[in-house]
Amino acid sequence: MDIRIRFITMAIVLATSVSAFAQTMSNPDISVIADTRAVYRTDETAKGLGVRSTRFEFAESELNIGAYLNPYMRADVAFGLHGVEGPFEIEEASVKILRGLPFSLQIEAGQYFLDFGRINQQHSHQWAWIERPLMHRTMLGEEGLRTLGANLSTLQAIGDNALTISVNAFNGDAFAAHDHDHSEETQTEDVTNEIAGAPIMYAGSISLFREMSDATNMDIGGSWIAGEYDAVENLNLLMGTANVKVKWRPDKYRAVDWVIETAFSDRDVVLEPEDSTGSETIDKVQATGVFSALQVRFRRLWDVGGFVDYTQDASIDGMETSAFGFFAGFMPAEETARISIVVRRETSDLVDFDDTSATIQFLWALGPHRPHQF
């Protein structure tokens, strides 16, 4: 943990402060994005002990600070505050060598969202469907997969198409690092993992972007992760994903955006003994999941859409969770504010639990947040 803190501190110093090495000419870009919600939940259970609730939630606020360090590099830091009281954490803190490397390479080092699939790389405020896909929650973690590591990527042309290939090396304990569980037991496990040496895992991705016409674009991608994710128990995993995004945007007033992502996971898990005389065993659990969303934008400021979401649990064999829902949104001015309503129905074998929720989300952004890439 010390190493991570030291690294993050260094990244912040690089990105934001008056450098110890030279004078700075300007301040970095600073922006804040906040996500406030009013949520109605049924919290139904199979035994009919449903608890209905309506409450306001401060889902997340994100502070982004970013700047160029020199003509070749930039650093970006994203702090996340979950709820009003926290936890407050560094979601991303990385430095990127943008240009100057051979073979059109870029290198990013630090903490960042791994390019495993399309959706994991995005911040949650980019999603009209609000919630992280179920397969990501079970396979990557409740907050997605942020890794402390390094990414090497290249952009190549195949005709007029853009091919992006990347490889990552990162700490395997990333799979357990973002569950916001700060219990003594979890912390002890983290420390033990560090003493054992956080295992290095490897991931790769490939995506091909094609402009099909002046108005239509398509991106097809695939990615994988492999390696040991728990050095103490010697647990391994192999995961893969395939994704497609198609966007039709004939003008600034209309757009149709469709994304589908599927993932599989094959991981070792520790099974607790059935009685006190038994011992732990290691088993393999295989899981698959799929998420798809369709968003239709009209009259520039409005959008409607829906999503379907399904996953098998990545750690418990035979357990399934599924969800579907609809959303509608309004942006008074692009990229600065969004008001939306999301209705979601979720069913799970895992906790014998059905939940229908209706969420009104107020999302707003202050400052020069950079436009989102396709």
């Binding site: 100057g100 042309a157 991106d219 600034k252």
Partner: protein, 296 residues
């Protein structure tokens, strides 16, 4: 046989050099691309990211644009906060030899806000209105900047680029005489436009833009502002509503129905309308359309 082989070897060596010698230029807008094409002629290969019919304020960052910039020697930025998206495309291109030319350098910017600028004023550009190419005098400044960039990137062809610049300036002057004749017919003409696109054009050609369909820059029309515009048009006897090709006609047509005004498509960029095929013909199309609208 030896001669044929020798010729083939020479051609193989010469051909790639010829291809490499061609400057590859990517620009944010078709207007800068058009000026660059006139100056560079056959010695440059020019591509624009934003199409003439697209809103240059809001361009999606696509990997295919990064590929175009990756192959480029020079990138022509509009600047003044119009094409902020270009930064991300340039970064994504990973091109370390790219020369970035901010074409707003030396432009006397109009409508530079004073005091504190914030989003309550809409999408205001702190450095001034960025639609500066719509004054041919600024076209001269842009052209000189582009020619200087071409010469710096390809000094061997300095003569050709100077000739290209001269060709542009001469052509501009010959067109200007005709534009002035056309402008005389619409001098003092009052109209409203959708967005605050035209202050440079207004200054140069003597038209008078009295209001905007947008209540504030970048903000969609509201019912109360539309009602105010209808009242204004009726009181001022303004009969023309100019709409850029990337904005909706819905509100302008509502205003037109209530006031008897005419909605006119006014392309602010090359390629934004039929006939606006280069930087010079863009002004012809604009002046002709306004003249025609005035006559109706």
């Amino acid at each position: 046989m030896k001669n044929i082989i020798a010729f083939a070897v020479v051609m193989l060596i010469a051909a790639p050099h010829g291809a490499v010698a061609k400057l590859r230029v990517v620009s944010s807008s078709t207007n800068l691309a058009s000026i660059a094409e006139i100056i560079g002629g056959d010695d440059v290969d020019v591509t624009s990211i934003a199409k003439g019919t697209a809103d240059p304020h809001n361009v999606e960052v696509l990997p295919s644009y990064m590929i175009k910039v990756k192959r480029a020697d020079i990138y022509l930025e509009v600047g003044l906060g119009l094409d902020l998206w270009a930064k991300q495309i340039i970064d994504g291109s990973r091109n370390s030899r790219l020369v970035i030319v901010n074409c707003s350098a030396g432009i006397p910017a109009l409508k530079v806000p004073t005091g504190k600028v914030d989003a309550s004023m809409g999408d205001v550009h702190p450095e001034g209105n960025p639609h500066y190419w719509l004054d041919p005098d600024n076209g001269v400044i842009i052209a000189r900047g582009i020619a200087a960039a071409f010469i710096a990137a390809d000094p061997k062809s300095e003569g050709k680029y100077n000739d290209g610049l001269q060709r542009f300036l001469t052509s501009l002057e010959s067109h200007r005489a005709r534009w002035n004749e056309k402008a005389a017919k619409i001098a003092g003409m009052k109209f409203i436009s959708f967005h605050d696109t035209w202050p440079y054009f207004e200054d140069e050609f003597g038209v008078d833009i009295v209001a905007f369909v947008e209540p504030k820059p970048g903000i969609e029309p509201t019912p109360s502002h539309t009602a105010h515009l209808i009242e204004l048009l009726n009181s001022m006897d303004v009969k023309v509503i100019g709409v850029e090709p990337y904005y909706s006609h819905r509100t302008p047509e509502t205003i037109a129905r209530a006031t008897g005004a005419t909605v006119v498509d006014l392309p602010p960029s090359v390629g934004g309308a039929q006939g606006a095929d280069d930087y010079f013909s863009l002004f012809d199309v604009l002046l002709d359309r306004l003249s025609e609208a005035k006559g109706q």
